[in-house]
Symmetry: C3
Subunit: 468 residues, 3 copies
């Protein structure tokens, strides 16, 4: 049986479906531009096989295991590593069976669509996953993973990826990226500068991180000037490994533009470890503006991923640490928050700041009106929980009328689930074509123009916005 | 003429409509599970006739009379009882005529759909209500109400209700439920523990309520320990009358988890009547966590109905008191608000906390992400103003992709309008089938799976979540 | 070629499209009621030709030029006047060419739909605007503008406008309206009282404005009593020139109902220029309630346009001043904000307060529940960024189920782009008919009723609500 419908995500009304298919066909096979995500650079550096189906599909994917947890499955039974570094001794086949037994939980979720797409199109599975088929599918996938055609670089090529950005912390030594470059392999895997560990005073080990940051750059990070210099040095270093962007994961979108003395005094305070929560917030806010000003000089695109309340469960954070599916969106506002930064650099036509949100109410109320007037602003695609058919539909419907298509930047897969990359881009392409087809069918866009827009959303805008 | 279209609420596109109808047919006649609502237990205890059409359809239904008030009809002219207990001497037929003259105001509202459904399917009316038909329809319904087949128990049976939960205050003596039990009638009418009157320091008569609460439980409610004990006793008492759940109507979703000494001190303060608005809020917040902890012991499901700004008009509250259609939603956030309770009990797989909201922005931003990871959380169905076709559609579209179907709990009618119960459940069934049909038609869900989900949403999930 | 599809905005599904067309046809040619907008009264007073295509379509329309600015076009290159009153010496044809080159930015925006409609239906253009067609279209439109049939009054008649309200500040001398009245022309151009300049302590030149306000009314505006009296006098004066409404553009919807002494003391403070931001907010809040009380006496309808964060860019405000496309919506709440005013006058059936919002989340959560119960409240149509097909769809879907159609007031074009008026009303009519057709097709509204509602939304409700 087919796990995926060839006409999936196209509207059911025959005329619109026909249009959607016509728009999709020419762009379906365009190369994948993946300018932001969390793939592990070591996959491409080492090019060794993925260990087993559970390690590939369940354990690292918090979209997947959070749903199982929500229905009472324990993290230990899913083999999720603990905060102390220990790993439950859970048989991967048992993890897979548990996943298969609960696969109905994913009905109508994007996870199900991505998984089915990967099962069928990457691994050639032709049965629905459930308790009965679990073992056979496990064996089938496991056997494939042993083949050369399923090594990371081979999959990268087969997925038709043109460029893939990973995300590294500020002290990363770029050894994997160096190894990739030295290997002679033609894949283009670039890094992204994500300095949260030395920008967020509430990050685990912030003070130690600052010291390490000084060491790695040879700058005196005990002074504000030295700290800023260290960032400049590190940004240049990341650019050597292909970086065209920086990325910032902040709890809010707040920015500040303090004068130099105040900023230096604040840095002294946060560096001492004695700052309040409010001061930590102001420091992060100031650093967004600093980063934007550095971008004016070095051309790196600035990405702001704001609004996740990380590690919501104190219990789970204590037992299992970060990134365990307990990051929850919260109301996030942009209009006042971004004003200091925009007053400083928002009118610069050569700067690109890409905004992401987990608060969909900001699409039509704040983000589209802002991106529809400030030359420096662009809207990132729907992020995280909203990286889905309905999420993309709501994004387009809420933003296009105010800021058009050309203040958006194409799609990001933003994933650490490598095999889901083609599926995610395909969902975005189909969802955009469904949206465009509806515009054509209701007289809001010409067909020739819709073809151009489909190409732009799939390919051109991502390359242009991220300077790839 | 038919007042209701047999294909109502199914999408117009022929293929999706065909699918929706196919999904609906097998579940259309399933028994009604009504795990939360405001029917009057005395109807089933006394089983006497409903007085007249105006008393049945207009006077007690604030959905209905608020719309007439919004266009300048006075409450007196609608026979609405006043705060002082007096009842305007308004002829029921005059009330009905006023209602009929203004019936166009309800065009495209769920009230119109429920009313037309009741008129046609419960009473056999076959004309649209308006000024011309008012008297004939009044007479027609009034004559039916005199028949045995229109007594409350007969309607309960005819509506195919399997279980119906009422909601009682903490001092209720359960005489009606006792009477029902003693009657030998086979209907299952259970109670729900709703202790707002002794939990909310801002409730009318709070201090007297605490005294009465002590009396009815035999506990010393002047102490924190005695007060908590009284709740435990009362919960056990309600369980004898079938309760499987508690319910809490709070202005916000805030929770706290104070240590025992602080909680006791706060209780002393609120009991004295000297607490501030902020302290009242903290006390309600603390009590949600206390209730959740009691639920861990006695298995009652915890329902939180948060976010109604009650009695918005000072004038109407003075003249007519509570529940007069002047309860207005307000922005409600859950992520920080629920954290103390979730840190305490959120990971307990044997606890069920059902969340309701009047702020639809929280669906995709907060509620679905929370329910999609915490084992103790489930999402209640769209509530109050959102218990409608568009409301249900938005709920499913905003939540399913993140928390799936299986972190939701089926439908609640939540009504005091008895004759609207079949209509409301029918709207929910049709709206869910419309949503599912669209998923099938766009390749997001298999048809066999959609049939299972339709059954689950209609019947199984409500029984399971409410432990019925 | 046709620039506009005769079936535009009607749903693609054939049966719904058929219904939408059937609903639209009888109301397509109804006269335009334009009860709120920003046309320049001098156009109709002087009746001289519009200078050129760039001055007609680009320079005064911040919807249009903000999009060009967002992609790096400079304001100078678009001929936008500067704050110091100077006007860049930019050739109108160059402005037009720049606009044409960037016309693809407007794809799928309401601006494109309005512009194409104006080009085709007002000027007879039959080519899509782009770099290649720019000059020919410029010449074509420019030639038309020289004809008598394209003078303002001729266009007013041709657009089939029945009444058009302009908006004037409190010191306006009504010379244009007087000139129109004296001219014998039959067009009905009325004014609206918009006193922001003397109500908002943060308005540029507030203190001077108060002095001028005293002068123009002959009242002593140094006292609270004299200031209120001046408003009453001025309102009466505006009524002489046709005003049936006042309008208030406030950053929030906050209202207050201070006692007289407190209000007088606050006025003394704001008049002194020494008030804080918070006091300015309270003063604006108090003035909304004062205006509502005056409306009870003189019958003027009160419009509240709340929630725009004006002049967001400090840089652009300094260089170019107000109304340059940098007004951004922000989260706006109504439930607590309006309570003081509603407690004072909300139950008055003879008062009409029309609420507008730029925060769509308030539609279903706050505005529809409020308008669905308070006799004095009505909901204005989607405003500014939401005055579009999707915006209108979301408005109807979010509000109708709670407050019905009859607590809304028809459409406002709210524009200073005269030639877009027919296009905007046409978009509203089509979008409403699309919505109604969907209701009919899904059994939620009878066809005969839908015809009535279509007429009411297009014509009757606007006349009734605005007392025209």
């Amino acid at each position: 049986m087919k796990l995926t419908d060839p006409d999936r995500l196209f509207p059911a009304e025959p005329r619109i479906r026909f249009l959607a298919r016509a728009l999709y066909e020419p762009i379906a096979e365009l190369p994948i531009i993946s300018p932001h995500g969390h793939c592990d650079a070591s996959w491409f550096a080492k090019n060794t096989r993925f260990p087993d189906p559970a390690q590939l599909f369940v354990v690292p994917d918090h979209y997947v295991f959070r749903m199982l947890v929500s229905q009472g499955v324990s993290m230990d039974d899913l083999g999720i590593p603990r905060a102390d570094g220990s790993v439950p001794d859970t048989d991967p086949r048992d993890i897979w069976r548990r996943f298969a037994e609960h696969y109905h939980l994913f009905r109508a979720t994007p996870s199900a669509m991505w998984l089915d797409h990967s099962f069928e199109h990457v691994f050639g599975v032709n049965e629905r996953l459930n308790a009965d088929t679990a073992d056979a599918i496990y064996d089938h996938i496991d056997a494939k993973l042993a083949q050369d055609a399923y090594l990371p670089r081979a999959l990268y090529d087969r997925f038709n990826v043109e460029v893939l950005a990973t995300t590294e912390g500020p002290m990363d030594d770029m050894s994997c990226h160096r190894e990739i470059a030295a290997s002679g392999w033609t894949g283009r895997v670039i890094t992204t500068y994500r300095p949260d560990a030395v920008v967020d005073p509430e990050y685990e080990g912030f003070r130690d991180n600052l010291a390490a940051f000084g060491k790695v750059t040879g700058e005196d990070t005990t002074t504000w000037a030295g700290y800023l210099k260290a960032h400049r040095i590190r940004r240049a270093y990341f650019k050597k490994y292909g970086a065209t962007a920086t990325d910032h994961g902040h709890p809010t979108a707040r920015t500040e533009d303090l004068d130099k003395a105040d900023a230096a005094a604040l840095y002294a305070k946060v560096r001492s470890g004695a700052c309040t929560t409010a001061e930590a917030e102001v420091f992060r806010a100031q650093m967004l503006t600093e980063m934007a000003k550095m971008s004016l000089d070095d051309g790196l695109v600035l990405q702001i991923h704001a609004g996740s309340r990380r590690n919501h469960s104190a219990k789970v954070f204590a037992s299992h640490g970060r990134d365990k599916g307990f990051d929850i969106p919260s109301p996030t506002s942009y209009v006042s928050a971004l004003k200091p930064m925009l007053d400083a650099v928002g009118m610069e036509p050569d700067l690109t700041i890409i905004l992401f949100t987990l608060d969909e109410t900001s699409y039509s109320r704040e983000l589209a009106p802002l991106a529809g007037v400030y030359p420096a602003l662009r809207l990132g695609p729907p992020w995280w929980f909203f990286d889905s058919h309905e999420g993309i539909k709501r994004f387009r419907e809420a933003t296009t009328e105010t800021c058009g298509f050309y203040n958006t930047v194409g799609f990001n897969d933003d994933t650490r689930a490598f095999c889901s990359i083609p599926a995610r881009h395909d969902v975005a392409r189909r969802s955009d074509c469904a949206y465009l087809a509806n515009l054509v069918a209701t007289g809001r866009l010409g067909l020739a123009e819709a073809h151009e827009v489909a190409y732009d959303l799939t390919y051109r805008l991502a390359k242009q916005a991220y300077r790839l």
